[in-house]
Amino acid sequence: MPATAADIRKKEKIIQRVFLIIAFSSLFSLFLIALFIFIEGFPMIMKVGLKDFLLSTRWSPTRGHYGIFAMIVSSFWVTIGALLFGGPLGLMCSIFLVEFASARWRAIIKPALELLAGIPSVVYGFLGVVYLVPLVRDYLGGPGLSLLTSCIILGIMILPTVISISVDALVAVPNSYREAAFSLGGTRWQTTYMVTVHAAKSGIITALVLGMGRAVGETMAVIMISGNALKIPTSILDPIRTMTSNIALEMGYASGMHRQALFATGIVLFFFVMALNTIATLFARRKAIK
């Protein structure tokens, strides 16, 4: 019996449904993760008090102190620092790739960047400990395990994110913009920084913000190179402990309130990343409206 149009439509519907469910599974796991973190961490925040949890610098779970302010500050600084290193570097690299590079250069650099993204973070951390930490210690002072070291390594780690998204933004700029600038007598560089980068601004900001999200979430490399001290850093050569490394460092040992406090740290981190992503989406949308 040949399939009727109705049959085909029915099949189509079923397949649509199946894929809808599969698509929802990722949403569902996000929901579960959020739910789980909140169930585990929220009672602890209520017990300790939001102010004592967020604004106290004393973290000593075995003695009943659960202040994460020092870690929030450290996470903030390390993210800004990573952006200062990785942002300009990534932006310049993507400008080169889109505006100046010949096809041959592009064929070399692009795969190399993809490779950079594929290197496990523990390898970055290891290289940091073995090469960068002694360099910083010997030439700049301090213990070497420091905010500065973390910023440099994280700056390199966010490069693939920053570059790939800002390359997309630059490529999306219509060629007519460039042609118009050329016709007004602009050089290639003038065109790039006065026209193209301007037009791609929102996409580039999105790239930077998502890079920040990557930096704030990085854990393994940071544990290895940041020193994990529980103080608010007063110089870039001071050791720091970020929220993520705090969770990973003490997870294996934690029980009871301590464990809940780590989940509560996760809640703060969750809001941190959510805020960054919201900012990124807002900028991305502004571009779409334009």
Partner: protein, 298 residues
């Protein structure tokens, strides 16, 4: 397009199958009997005990090839918890149990000294325990205060919950708190690595793990060694505990008795630990076991 969708769906199904398969394997490992004549034990806990437990497991598996022993890390607190919950056959701890953790069957397998280490380039040879406490409390910050060069001390400690840190706090710090400005590393190995590269650092690790890269120093005039601990002169040592939920039986008991036997203890002594028999005498746990197994095994 359709082909791509099908491919995606296939990948998805494969992934699920993989996940389910992995789950199945894990479940199997948990039980003692895995069929085909293989039997297995899971040991989990202290990262200080881990290398020694691995060594013992290795030797035991050479002797009894149809036994599989899984040794995992996780930390003393995790070891205690997994023994309580029955996740591991044997939990390990490198510190004494807190009062609220009691109720497990505790078997000390060896004692381990805690050595304070500095970089080999550091001329320091001896510290009083008060000075050591002052360094870790953040009251002494510069080597100059100890008669050394004018350079900040890099003080390295372990993370909260670590057995080595717990023992250090108990034995050295007493009631004083470790300064939050100390560098925190998450294993004996990384503390040693850091001290070996930073000439201005000080740290503490298991005596058994001290090697040529670092220099152990005397505390209160007593150099840490197996000998000085045996003589009860060096007082900074802690027990390595095997923990089981109930009195061990079967394969678990057999392995524990192997560890407590002269052969097992010899392995531990060779790795730099202090045999438990020196402090306790022979345990009664294994006497009966030895008689029965003497008949069966072989």
């Amino acid at each position: 397009m359709a082909a791509r969708l099908v491919k995606g769906a296939l990948t998805f199904v494969c992934l699920i199958a993989l996940a389910v398969g992995a789950q199945g394997c894990r479940k199997k490992k948990k039980s003692q009997k895995t069929g085909r004549g293989y039997t297995s034990i899971i040991i989990a806990g202290s990262t200080s005990v881990q290398p020694f437990a691995e060594k013992l497991a290795e030797m035991y598996m050479v002797k009894y090839p149809n036994v599989i022993i899984n040794v995992q890390g996780g930390g003393s607190t995790a070891g205690i918890r997994s023994a309580q919950m029955g996740i591991a056959n044997i939990g390990t701890s490198s510190r004494n149990l807190h009062p609220e953790e009691k109720g497990l069957f505790e078997i000390p397998i060896a004692y381990d000294g805690i050595a304070v280490i500095v970089n080999p380039k550091n001329p320091l040879k001896n510290l009083s325990s008060e000075t050591l406490r002052a360094i870790y409390a953040g009251r002494i910050l510069n080597w100059k205060q100890l008669g050394g060069v004018d350079h900040r001390i890099t003080t390295i400690t372990r993370e909260e919950g670590s057995g080595t840190r717990g023992a250090f706090e108990e034995l050295v710090m007493e009631k004083t708190e470790i300064d939050p400005g100390c560098i925190v590393e998450d294993s004996n190995g990384s503390v040693r690595e850091l001290v070996s590269t930073d000439p201005y650092s000080i740290g503490y690790i298991s005596l058994g793990l001290v090697n040529k890269q670092v220099k152990a120093i005397a505390i209160d005039g007593v150099f840490p060694s197996v000998q000085t601990i045996k003589e009860r002169r060096y007082r900074f040592y802690r027990p390595f505990l095997f923990l089981t939920k109930k009195k061990p039986v079967g394969l678990t008991l057999h392995f524990i008795c192997y560890v407590l036997s002269p052969e097992g203890q010899r392995i531990l002594a060779k790795e730099g630990l202090i045999p438990v028999t020196i402090i306790h005498g022979e345990s009664t746990l294994c006497q009966q076991q030895r008689q029965t197994s003497g008949k069966k095994k072989k």
